[in-house]
């Protein structure tokens, strides 16, 4: 396997893993599959540019220097998710999981239409950190600088999140709540704090995906969260709903498989790459319907 391929696989898989984590975090604590996650990503993308329906995008926040821009966009993502939870999901706290899921679809459609009204429906060219496209020589491979940054950022985020979940009080409460929410509450764990915390983290992760997508593609499109949301959702199912490490592993796996297929398939078969990929997903689910890493809390209780 060439070095180039390894970097491709890691970068794509890393982004899928981050997106899948955003979904798994919320599912873990409140059994909600948040289908609005893709729109959280899209909103974070459009937060970079000035609202207008013109074809030409004018960078607003996106023009800020990266050390200011990155934390700001993460905050916006987190804030949007926390607000969505407070306005949409909190009033539905006692609703069935299916009702919650439908609620998340509705929220997603509402957010998408809000973007349509504010920004128009045409995709816009956005040049964010164009200088990161320049190739860097790593051994035998010539890799875009952006790809290296993405891989490093994903590693830092995963390590930071793991540390936070292991060592912090909020992390402990989130893990306990993910296993048995009512029991955690009976031990004094505040449900609002845990759920808001999960949404904040999820929203920040959506913003990370947004930044990477824009930097990679150079486009802002109202529909851009949908595709990655689908892959991320599949990754959480393959990983075992609610298992964070499972979501990361499956996200990495799907990204890596995608990159490998792209490089390895005969040229004639390459357009059908995704068919091969999702054929593999079906195979995995046939043999392990509960996912690769079904979490403890998902087991039926006596």
């Amino acid at each position: 396997m060439s070095l180039q391929l390894l970097f491709d696989a890691l970068a794509l898989g890393g982004i899928y893993a981050i997106a899948a984590l955003g979904i798994a975090l919320i599912f873990g604590v409140m059994r909600l599959v948040n289908f609005a996650h893709g729109q959280f990503i899209a909103c974070a993308v459009f937060a970079l540019i000035v609202p207008s329906t013109d074809a030409l995008a004018v960078l607003g926040l996106g023009a800020l220097p990266a050390p200011v821009l990155v934390p700001l966009i993460l905050l916006i993502g987190a804030g949007l998710a926390v607000a969505a939870e407070a306005l949409v999901f909190r009033p539905m706290r006692n609703a069935s999981p299916v009702a919650l899921m439908v609620g998340s679809f509705a929220l997603g459609v509402a957010l998408q239409n809000l973007l349509l009204v504010l920004y128009g429906g045409r995709p816009k060219a956005v040049s964010l950190w164009a200088e990161l496209g320049q190739p860097v020589q790593v051994g035998s491979a010539s890799v875009p600088l952006l790809q290296l940054i993405v891989i490093a950022a994903v590693a830092v985020i995963l390590a930071g999140l793991a540390l936070m979940l292991r060592k912090s009080r909020l992390g402990l409460e989130m893990r306990a709540a993910a296993e048995d929410f009512t029991m955690a509450r009976m031990l004094g764990v505040r449900s609002n704090r845990v759920i808001s915390g999960a949404f904040a983290l999820s929203g920040a992760l959506a913003a990370v995906v947004a930044l990477v997508l824009v930097a990679q593609t150079g486009v802002a499109d109202v529909r851009m969260g949908g595709q990655i949301m689908l892959v991320a959702f599949i990754a959480t199912v393959v990983g075992g709903m609610g298992s964070l490490s499972g979501a990361v592993a499956a996200g990495l796996g799907i990204g890596a498989a995608s990159a490998l297929l792209q490089a390895g398939l005969p040229a004639d078969a390459r357009p059908f790459r995704d068919a091969f990929l999702y054929g593999g997903v079906i195979l995995v689910l046939l043999f392990r319907p509960q996912g690769l890493f079904a979490p403890v809390g998902a087991k039926p209780r006596v």
Partner: protein, 239 residues
């Protein structure tokens, strides 16, 4: 004033009535067993007090404060802790983490360390397995962990739902020994669901007998065992 007061309590699941017109009070430091056949409403009673099941009617008070209507986390913060049916330990967390979840509501950091020492002394196996995954413990050890975990919230009232379920008699003895020891040490008020009247009589305390969501008898556990009240509760008859 009673430590715990239940007045005209009703609990319903849809159209099914689990508890109706139930009233009793518990004095501070008392040990109360709740017994009765399956479906009598014992677990529903405990869940209603702990706030994990909504009350349809009536009032639950602790130290004169009304608990009914509050969420489980608010009730835990007022000093009422639950050892639920089936133990419900966090299997993916370590033993020590299980014990730490409930300490977030406390401001007395120094006392938390003392309490940890207390439960480790009462249940040495938990100290030994502190770093292990709680899911790897045996049933008896998990029961001890569930009790210790509830104690770590520094409760004044503790509810224990069927601590003997699925455990060998010898292990049940040990669990009750420790529970009584800790009760004496901490001045706890205990409400325990226990199916076996013989067991309750041996441990000693007051006993409430439930049937069909109501209390049908209230007295000393030793008398219950002698008077065959349980048989009446299970098979009908005037109780």
């Amino acid at each position: 004033m009673a430590k715990l007061g239940i007045f005209d309590l009703a609990v319903r699941y849809g159209k099914l009535t689990a508890i109706a017109d139930l009233s009793f009070t518990v004095a501070e430091g008392q040990r109360v067993f709740v017994s009765g056949p399956n479906g009598a409403g014992k677990s529903s009673l405990l869940s209603a007090i702990a706030g994990s099941v909504r009350t349809a009617h009536g009032r639950i008070e602790m130290d004169g404060d009304i608990l009914s209507g509050l969420g489980p986390e608010a009730i835990a913060r007022r000093g009422l802790s639950m050892v639920p049916e089936g133990r419900r330990i966090f299997a993916g967390l370590s033993v020590l983490e299980n014990l730490t979840v409930g300490t977030g509501i406390r401001r007395d950091r120094g006392a938390v360390a003392d309490d940890l020492e207390t439960v480790f002394t009462a249940f040495p196996i938990l100290r030994e397995r502190a770093r292990a995954n709680a899911g790897a413990l045996s049933g008896g050890q998990q029961q001890m962990l569930a009790i210790a975990r509830a104690l770590m919230t520094n409760p004044k009232v503790m509810l224990v739902d069927e601590p003997s379920l699925g455990l060998a008699p010898k292990v049940v003895d040990e669990v009750y020994d420790r529970l009584c020891q800790l009760q004496a040490l901490r001045g706890l008020t205990l409400v325990i669901v226990e199916q076996s009247s013989a067991r309750a009589a041996r441990v000693g305390g007051r006993m409430l007998l439930m049937r069909g969501g109501r209390i049908v008898a209230d007295g000393d556990a030793t008398e219950f065992a002698a008077r065959d009240l349980l048989t009446e509760a299970y098979f009908g008859g005037a109780a």
